[in-house]
C-alpha cells in the first residue's frame, strides 16, 4: 500500500512564507524508504520540528517527510556520553533525559525545540562556537538513506565527502536515519554568568576580543535601534558551566534546575505590536535594568533558552510573520560591516525586536556550513511592505564585506548572492548530482537558491 499523505499549508518558524506541501509522516524507518520510492511526489524534503525560519523545510506542491515519529533513542554509553538516536529526537528530549545523568548538549542553538536531524542539516552553532565550533564537531557518525535506496554510514573518516556535504547540507544529500552524538559532561544544570554592559559597538567587540576565551559561552544582546555614539550598545552575557561544588547551598539538586513556567501566546498579536516605538521602549528598559555584574548563577533554561518559556512566541509578530536575518562577517571586515549594517537598519525605520551578536571561531569543513571566523549578527524583522528589497540590499552589503547568510533562517536570499557567499557550492553540487541524479531531494529553499534546479 502506498504511504498516505496530508496536504497542508506549512511554514517555518517565521511564518513567512506559507506554502502548500504534501506531508508524509512515516512511523517506521522503513517508511522513509517506502515514501521516497513511492513515486507519489516529484521530490521530498525532511522536516523535524519546523523551527528553521524560512523555507528550508518546505517543498511547495511536493513532498515533505515529517520525522516527528522517528524520535527514538537507540543507545547510550554512560561512560563515554555517546548517544545514538533517530533524527526526530528533539534537543529538549536529550536534555530532559540525559541532563539528570550529567550530560548536556555539546552545542545548542537558542531554542531546544529543534530536532537532531534539523540541527545537523543546518550544522547549528551555539554560544560556544568560539571555543568548540559547530555541531558537526560532535557528530561521530550517521546513517544516511540516499535517494538510490542505499543506507550509508558516514563519518569524518568514512565517506568523508558525503559527511561534510551532509552537515549543513539542508537535507539535500539524503535522509538522516540515525546519528551518534558526543554529549558533553556537566556537573550541574547551572551556568555562572558575567554580565557586562557595553556602551557601544567598539566597547562590545573589544571586550569580546579581550576575554571571550575565558568563557565556554559568550553572547550579546544588542540594541538594534541605538544610533550615534551609542550605536551597538550591548549587554554581554558570558558564562561557564557551574561545578556542583561551586553551587550555593540553596541549590539542592545540581542537575535539576527548577522548571521555568510556560506561557503560550494563544492568539496572533496585531502585526503592529512590535513597532519602532514599542521596540525602542523595550530596548531602553532592557539596557537600563542590566548591570555589569560578575558570577550570576543562572539555570540552563534561562541562559540558553529564554524564549522557550513562551510557546509560540512567533505569534508576537502577528499573522504576517517575520524574517530572522542572520549574517556572519569575517574577522577582518567585521567591525566596519557590523557598523554599516546596524546603521542601515537604524535608518530603515524597521525595528528588530531581538538582535544578537556573537563571535565565531574557525569555520569547519562543512561545504555549506554557515560559521566563519569573525562575528555573527541575528535580527528579527517583522514582515512588512518593502522588506524583501530591503533585505536584498543587506544581502549585497553582507556580500561586500565578505560575509554570508544563515540558510536555516533565510527566506529571501537570491541564487546569485548565495553562490557568491558560499564558495564551496560547486563541490556540494557535484556530490549532490552523484548521490541524487533524479533530484528526488529538494526543497523550496534549494530551488530558490539554485542548489537544485
Amino acid at each position: 500500500m502506498k504511504p498516505a499523505f496530508a496536504t497542508k499549508q506549512l511554514s517555518g518558524w517565521g511564518r513567512y512564507p506559507v506554502e502548500s506541501c504534501h506531508l508524509f509522516r512515516p512511523e517506521k524507518r522503513s517508511g522513509v524508504a517506502a515514501t521516497l520510492a513511492s513515486g507519489l511526489q516529484p521530490s521530498y524534503i525532511s522536516r523535524g520540528l519546523g523551527r528553521s525560519y524560512g523555507d528550508a523545510a518546505l517543498n511547495q506542491n511536493a513532498g515533505v517527510i515529517w520525522h516527528i515519529l522517528l524520535n527514538r533513542f537507540l543507545s547510550f554509553d554512560s561512560a563515554s556520553g555517546v548517544l545514538e538516536c533517530e533524527s526526530g529526537v528533539s534537543l529538549a528530549e536529550i536534555i530532559q533525559y540525559f541532563l539528570p545523568r550529567g550530560w548536556f548538549l555539546p552545542v545548542t542553538p537558542g531554542t531546544k525545540f529543534v530536532s537532531v536531524g534539523g540541527a545537523i542539516a543546518a550544522d547549528i552553532h551555539g554560544k560556544n562556537h568560539h571555543q568548540d565550533g559547530s555541531l558537526s564537531n560532535f557528530v561521530l557518525d550517521f546513517r544516511l538513506l540516499v535517494p538510490t535506496g542505499e543506507v550509508l554510514l558516514c563519518s569524518p573518516s568514512l565517506n568523508p565527502e558525503i559527511f561534510w556535504a551532509t552537515v549543513g547540507g539542508m537535507g539535500l544529500t539524503g535522509v538522516l536515519l540515525s546519528t551518534r552524538l558526543q554529549l558533553r559532561r556537566v556537573d550541574s544544570a547551572y551556568v555562572f554568568v558575567d554580565f557586562h554592559k557595553a556602551s557601544n559597538l567598539d566597547d562590545a567587540l573589544a571586550t569580546m576580543e579581550a576575554s571571550d576565551d575565558r568563557y565556554d559561552y559568550s553572547v550579546a544582546w544588542i540594541d538594534g535601534l541605538a544610533t550615534g555614539k551609542t550605536m551597538g550598545r550591548s549587554v554581554l552575557m558570558r558564562g561557564n558551566h557551574a561545578a556542583a561544588a561551586e553551587l550555593p547551598a540553596r541549590v539542592r539538586h545540581a542537575l535539576a534546575a527548577p522548571t521555568v513556567p510556560q506561557w503560550n501566546l494563544f492568539v496572533d498579536f496585531p502585526s503592529w505590536t512590535l513597532n519602532r516605538l514599542t521596540v525602542k521602549a523595550f530596548n531602553t528598559a532592557y539596557y537600563a535594568v542590566h548591570r555589569t555584574v560578575p558570577r550570576q548563577l543562572v539555570s540552563f533554561e534561562k541562559f540558553f533558552y529564554p524564549l522557550d518559556a513562551i510557546d509560540q512566541w512567533n505569534r508576537m509578530y502577528g499573522k504576517r510573520g517575520f524574517v530572522q536575518y542572520q549574517i556572519a562577517l569575517p574577522q577582518a571586515s567585521g567591525r566596519s560591516g557590523l557598523r554599516a549594517i546596524l546603521d542601515r537598519l537604524a535608518r530603515s525605520g524597521r525595528a528588530s525586536f531581538l538582535a544578537v551578536l556573537k563571535r565565531f571561531g574557525d569555520a569547519g569543513p562543512g561545504l555549506l556550513s554557515f560559521p566563519l571566523r569573525g562575528y555573527t549578527l541575528a535580527l528579527d524583522i517583522p514582515a512588512a511592505r518593502g522588506l524583501v528589497p530591503f533585505l536584498h540590499e543587506l544581502d549585497r552589503m553582507t556580500l561586500d564585506f565578505g560575509g554570508r547568510i544563515y540558510l536555516a533562517k533565510d527566506a529571501v536570499l537570491r541564487a546569485g548572492d548565495f553562490a557568491a557567499m558560499y564558495p564551496k557550492l560547486e563541490d556540494f553540487r557535484a556530490i549532490k548530482r552523484k548521490l541524487d541524479p533524479q533530484r528526488l531531494l529538494s526543497s523550496s529553499l534549494a530551488r530558490r537558491l539554485g542548489i537544485v534546479d
Binding site: A4, A6, K28, F73, E93, F113
Partner: protein, 272 residues
C-alpha cells in the same frame, strides 16, 4: 509539547520501584501486542513512564527493538521484544507462549492493540483485503486473547485490556467490515469478562474514537481527533481503576449513545 506523557509519575512510585529492584522483587511487566505504532506505541510509553517493565510484541522486530531501546533509555525500565503475528494463526500459541515465558512471573497484564482499518472500497471486491480486515480485528485478536486468557486464568489474577472501537457499536456503510470485526471483539470481551471475573482476572474493553494515527493521517478532515498519547493516558487510568468498558476520549460514549438511538429505518438512509 513533544512529550505530553505524564512526568515519571509520583516520586514515591519511582522510588518504590527502585527499592523493589534492589530487594530483588520483580517489577510488574505488561505485555503489549501491536506495540509498533499508534496507540500501542503510546501505551508502551505510558506504562514505561509509570515504571512497568514491558514485553513488546509485533511483526517488525527491528522497529520493536528500536522502541525497546528508547523506552529503556527514557524510563530505566527493562523492555524486551518478541515477534508475534496475529494473522499467523498456527504459530499464535507458540509465539505467545514465548512472550509469557519471556515476561516471567512478573507479568501482570496484557494490552491488545492490534488492528487494521484497511480500505473499505477495495474490500468490497477484494476478498483478501476483506479477510485481512476481519482476521486482524476479530479472528486473530480473539485467538490471541484465548491463549492469554488461559494463562491468566491459571494464574488467578491480572488484567486483559483490548482495543475495540466505536466503529463496532453500529455498522455504517463506510467501514462495516472493520466495524463488524470490532463489534465481534467487543462481544467476545463481554463474554471473557464474565468468565474471568470468577477467577479474579479483570477485562477492560477500550473503544477509541478518532485518534491521530496512521488510520486517520491523510484522511479528509475528521473532527475530534485525539492524540495517541492522550488516549494512552486514559487507557492507563482505566486499567488502574479497573473500568469495564471505556470510551476514549470519554465524549464518544455520549456520541455513540445518540447514534444508537437513531431508528434503523432512518439510519439506513444516512450516508456515513
Amino acid at each position: 509539547m513533544f512529550d505530553s506523557r505524564f512526568p515519571i509519575g509520583p516520586i514515591h512510585n519511582l522510588q518504590s520501584a527502585i527499592v523493589n529492584r534492589q530487594g530483588g522483587v520483580a517489577v510488574p511487566t505488561v505485555l503489549i501486542l501491536g506495540a509498533n505504532a499508534g496507540i500501542g506505541r503510546a501505551l508502551a510509553g505510558e506504562f514505561a513512564s509509570h515504571q512497568h517493565d514491558l514485553m513488546l510484541a509485533g511483526r517488525d522486530m527491528e522497529e520493536l527493538q528500536a522502541l525497546a531501546s528508547d523506552l529503556n533509555l527514557r524510563h530505566h525500565v527493562s523492555v524486551r521484544a518478541e515477534r508475534v503475528d496475529v494473522l499467523n494463526f498456527d504459530a499464535l500459541e507458540s509465539s505467545l507462549a514465548a512472550c509469557i515465558a519471556g515476561a516471567g512471573d512478573s507479568l501482570v497484564g496484557v494490552v491488545l492493540c492490534t488492528g487494521y482499518l484497511g480500505d473499505a472500497e477495495t474490500a468490497r471486491r477484494d476478498l483478501n483485503e476483506a479477510r485481512r480486515i476481519l482476521d486482524t480485528n476479530f479472528t486473530g485478536s480473539a485467538l490471541a486473547l484465548n491463549v492469554l486468557a488461559n494463562h491468566f486464568e491459571r494464574k488467578g489474577k491480572g488484567f486483559i485490556c483490548a482495543l475495540s472501537s466505536v466503529a463496532g457499536d453500529r455498522g455504517r456503510q463506510s467501514n462495516y467490515l472493520y466495524g463488524s470485526a470490532k463489534g465481534g471483539l467487543t462481544t467476545y470481551l463481554q463474554g471473557l469478562r464474565n468468565r474471568l471475573y470468577h477467577c479474579g482476572v479483570h477485562v477492560i474493553t477500550v473503544k477509541p474514537g478518532f485518534v491521530d494515527t496512521r488510520m486517520v493521517f491523510g484522511k479528509a478532515k475528521l473532527p475530534l481527533v485525539a492524540t495517541p498519547e492522550a488516549v494512552a493516558r486514559q487507557i492507563y487510568l482505566a486499567v488502574k481503576s479497573r473500568k469495564n468498558v471505556v470510551y476514549v476520549p470519554w465524549f464518544w460514549r455520549v456520541i455513540m449513545s445518540v447514534v444508537g438511538l437513531i431508528p434503523e429505518g432512518l439510519f439506513k438512509r444516512l450516508r456515513m
